[in-house]
Symmetry: C2
């Protein structure tokens, strides 16, 4: 083990947080379920292809790296057209490993600026198209099914724009990641002789960051893909161990599902490092969409799920901590931290007399943000609220890969413990059908009639 | 009434969502409590000075507007040093009213780019300081107490930097908003003969967006401050009406607190317009910090509070909607929308054959995002989940002011219905003291000893 990440679950227990914590003996008894979980995950491994992404073939990686070089040499900007799992991993990657916050929107020599356009807000999309220089901009279109209405609407707009402004050259600006053999994007690509990248079978959107969906972003931004996957592989070793606490994913899954059984229905992820804020959003999709399920594997109505919430330290100490300390015992807070930031910023002696603040002189923001994290852990623990800490020694491709891979395995294990299917998302179909109906797609006429007949008047409407 | 905002609460009721909704008759009975709430808010109005910000003196506004003109004429960039309530209102304002997403980071003629530096992450702060041109950058330092450790740390860093690089001119780059008579910032300003802006008494951080804390941002970015406050005033009229549903704030407060009493402990705000995403964050502070309280006004331990969650439509349909439709009946979803975006973006006919997508040709992203909002309302309602919709005719200073003022009054009314103090935040003190202790501030030696003595070893730690 490389000792890059420390998981501290001590504050989940009654011994630290009192009556609203978990009892150590009960947890140790419940751990008897883990061998069966472990076996189930091994049995399913062939259907969980995301688990093997740390070990994908050199040919696949070489193709991604070559595309990255080509992008960095020929374009300023790569725009991702994708949504949900096609976007969140890239956003997390960019923030964590592509350089500091204020630089992400700037053009940099030797690396593409990568913009993730993951909504269909017309004002936002118009401003994107006004901002970029089409000649120096490539687009990465991501949809496994080729059927995603948001991504395909954006794709048509961009396709027409490139075609109109660049003529036959437009094809050089398009990079497509989709299914290996089926769907609208694959069919179009084959008809035009375009090469595509593949989302492997058994890799769902929210588990796709380490396939070309996320790796092309990493390559275009100049990240170290090998280190990223080495970090995943290192975590895969730990997450293949049979026992807790050696296997942090099984421990996380066990503690969280036991808390859920006690009615703890909120999971907060609170990084104390700006660069991990989008990683908390990525977690929110993973945890919500995987575990939020009406039916268990036996078909019983269980309405499972824990609502993920992302916060940011120290910022949200001035927004959410009042609630977290004094409010209901309905949440677990997971603090993420780093021991070493990339840079240091020291608080100097003020050039004007400020005696009340002299205690800060010579300390650094690095010390301050760590002190605040420790102080907040202390305060929520004292308030009797379950919490845990996941601390990276520093944030780079290796530790980032490890962290995300940990969350993926923990989510899969939690699905097993809850007895639900963590890999489907049947609940989004109703809304998709209703959207097709409202957009006039053939075959959805009955649904359109139902929607338009839905009562609109009510006594509970107010206009101001 | 100007009919700029429509509040539709119909989907909160059993008649639309079934057994997990609220019963109309029970709500109508509970409405008998509202006259007492109304009276209590009127009695407290002198201590709720934020309620009168729509009507603040012309002299105060003229001073803000003059500072805005000076900033726009002399600087490219205004950096806000503030956190929590000193930052979230400005972030909401900038996103809603200062132009489209991708332009906010750019320098624009005739308006300052306003950057909100609301964390003490050293990498982020270093990259900010590397990015801005000090000669063309002003700083707005905001802390009512002058005691906020994060803001004061940033202030010392910036003060020393300006002093070192600009000599005596450094003072022209500083704008300070603080208490009218006390605190470190006021004392320093008086000693140096600097003019300051005032956070009025009775205006807490989370209710401060319409005082100089937010208005200087509006002025620097070239927004229409008068329209903003006119929108507040219009909403104040509606929120002074005695009856529901005429008074949308009382109705919101009544329905949400009744749902809380049934165990609904999560409040989701989901705008279907990118420009309102930071407004959802602003709401999260308002709702969490105001209502998350251990004790009620009689001193009983109630552990009140509802956890706010911000989502973004349509993006989070591909992240959270699976959970919202199929998961537990533990949340209310409030959809925010606009009828008219600032611009239009039509999906053209594709220049290559894409017959499966022809149904989209000629439609606009404007139609798509509205169809998806309607489709999602339909899907979550069909799944039996309580929801409501707040629709602006279009997003501008007037409707934005109305919307935020509505949420402020709704929060105050909810505090009354819960019998708690919505205007304090005692739960953040423990963490503040612990931070002072860890940073070596005099007078906190005992707390430091307690923190350092806290058990660090545990069987529940895992290193990978």
């Amino acid at each position: 083990m490389s000792n890059r990440i420390t998981f501290d679950f001590a504050n989940m227990f009654t011994s630290r947080v009192g009556e609203h914590g978990l009892d150590q003996n009960v947890v140790l008894q419940a751990a008897a379920k883990l061998p069966a979980v472990d076996q189930a995950l091994r049995d399913k491994r062939s259907a969980m292809a995301w688990r093997d992404l740390p070990y994908q073939p050199a040919a696949v990686l070489d193709k991604i790296k070559a595309a990255g070089s080509y992008l960095r040499e020929n374009f300023d900007t790569l725009v991702i057209l994708g949504i949900g799992g096609s976007a969140l991993g890239s956003k997390a990657l960019l923030s964590a490993c592509a350089g500091p916050y204020y630089r992400l929107m700037e053009k940099r020599p030797g690396a593409c600026r990568v913009l993730v356009e993951d909504n269909v807000d017309p004002d936002r999309m118009n401003s994107l198209l006004e901002t970029v220089d089409l000649k120096r901009t490539a687009f990465h279109v991501i949809s496994k099914s080729g059927n995603t209405v948001e991504t395909m609407s954006q794709f048509i707009i961009v396709l027409e724009l490139l075609h109109r402004h660049l003529g036959a050259d437009f094809q050089k600006h398009l990079f497509i990641t989709t299914d290996k053999s089926t769907g609208i994007l694959k069919k179009l690509s084959d008809a035009n002789g375009w090469d595509t990248f593949t989302v492997p079978d058994g890799v769902g959107g929210r588990f796709s960051v380490f396939c070309p969906v996320g790796l092309l972003t990493a390559a275009a931004a100049g990240m170290d893909i090998d280190a990223l996957l080495a970090g995943c592989a290192e975590m895969d070793k730990a997450c293949s161990l049979p026992n807790i606490p050696d296997n942090p994913a099984y421990l996380y899954a066990l503690l969280y599902t036991m808390a859920m059984a006690k009615g703890v229905n909120i999971s907060v992820v609170m990084p104390y490092v700006d660069a991990l804020a989008p990683t908390a959003e990525w977690y929110c999709q993973l945890w919500a969409e995987s575990l939020g399920k009406r039916s268990d594997l036996q078909g019983r109505q269980v309405y499972a799920g824990q609502t993920p919430v992302r916060a940011l330290g120290v910022t949200d100490q001035h927004s959410q901590i009042q609630l977290y300390t004094e409010g209901p015992f309905d949440k677990i807070i997971s603090f993420l931290g780093v021991e070493q930031f990339a840079s240091k910023l020291t608080i100097p002696e003020a050039p004007l007399p400020l005696p009340e603040l002299a205690y800060l002189y010579g300390h650094s923001l690095n010390e301050l943000i760590e002190a605040e994290r420790r102080a907040t852990v202390y305060a929520v623990t004292k308030a009797g609220k379950m919490n845990n800490s996941i601390i990276l020694d520093k944030l780079d491709e290796f530790s980032f890969g490890s962290l995300l891979y940990f969350f993926e395995v923990a989510t899969a294990a939690a699905g097993e413990l809850l007895g639900i299917d963590a890999f489907d998302q049947p609940g989004v179909e109703e809304g998709k059908k209703a959207t097709f109906a409202l957009m006039g797609r053939a075959g959805y006429e009955e649904k359109a009639a139902e929607l338009n007949a839905a009562a609109a008047s009510s006594d509970w409407i107010c206009r101001v």
